[in-house]
């Protein structure tokens, strides 16, 4: 049986190189300007505009909050489009912000006579481009 003439040290170094170059995906470098890093929905809001209790299940009487975390600086327009069922419009609103760093922007909706039970969708766009979606239920 022939024994490999490659020194063990070279095999070790090659393994490190392969590990460094492949495997787990790395996040793309952030584009210039503002980008959305997370979207949460829940029933309450903290002082820093984060969601106090993240959930995807609401009661008819709830005010529904969405908190959008952004990174980067510069002018940006965030739009929250809330729909019900197969696309019935619930609300559509936007905010133009000029963050200088990480920021949170919240949108909220309420319905005095209660939300109809069913599935709802929240589509968030940043400068007209889709930045993420969330779906939740009212029971």
């Amino acid at each position: 049986m022939r024994v490999s003439s490659i020194p063990p040290v070279a095999v070790f170094l090659a393994a490190i190189l392969v590990a460094a170059c492949g495997g787990k995906d790395t996040a793309a470098p952030p584009a210039a300007g503002v980008s959305v890093s997370s979207i949460d929905v829940g029933r309450s809001l903290t002082a820093d505009k984060a969601i106090g209790d993240v959930t995807d299940s609401f009661r008819p009487s709830d005010t529904i909050y969405a908190s959008i975390k952004t990174e980067g600086a510069g002018p940006a327009t965030l739009r929250a489009n809330w729909t019900y069922g197969e696309g019935k419009k619930v609300d559509d609103s936007s905010q133009t912000i000029s963050p200088t760093g990480p920021a949170r922007t919240e949108f909220h909706v309420s319905k005095p006579d209660g939300w109809p039970a069913g599935r709802y969708h929240l589509d968030v766009t940043l400068n007209g481009n889709s930045a993420g979606t969330k779906q939740f239920d009212v029971k």
Binding site: A80, K88, K89, T96, T100, T105
Partner: protein, 92 residues
Amino acid sequence: MGIFDKKKNDTTDSSPDFSNVRSGGSSTAPSGDQAPAPAAPRTYVVVSGDSLSKIAKREYGSADKWHQIYEANRDIIKNPDLIFPGQTLHLP
């Protein structure tokens, strides 16, 4: 009558009504709708060979606007035909 007609013709009668939804929002980031900060006052330091009309032509594109510079600097310009190198003029 009107309500009855509306209901009669409404093919989405069972569809939920979201017309009374209230919405709002806020952000930890400054609003992009805020007016930009006012520009800092502009000044110009007179150099040899300058005249108010030359400065007006250079700064505003029209020599005829020399009197605007003169009016904005009446406290330091006594004679519009006499300005001196080193004088700092306010540009309105």
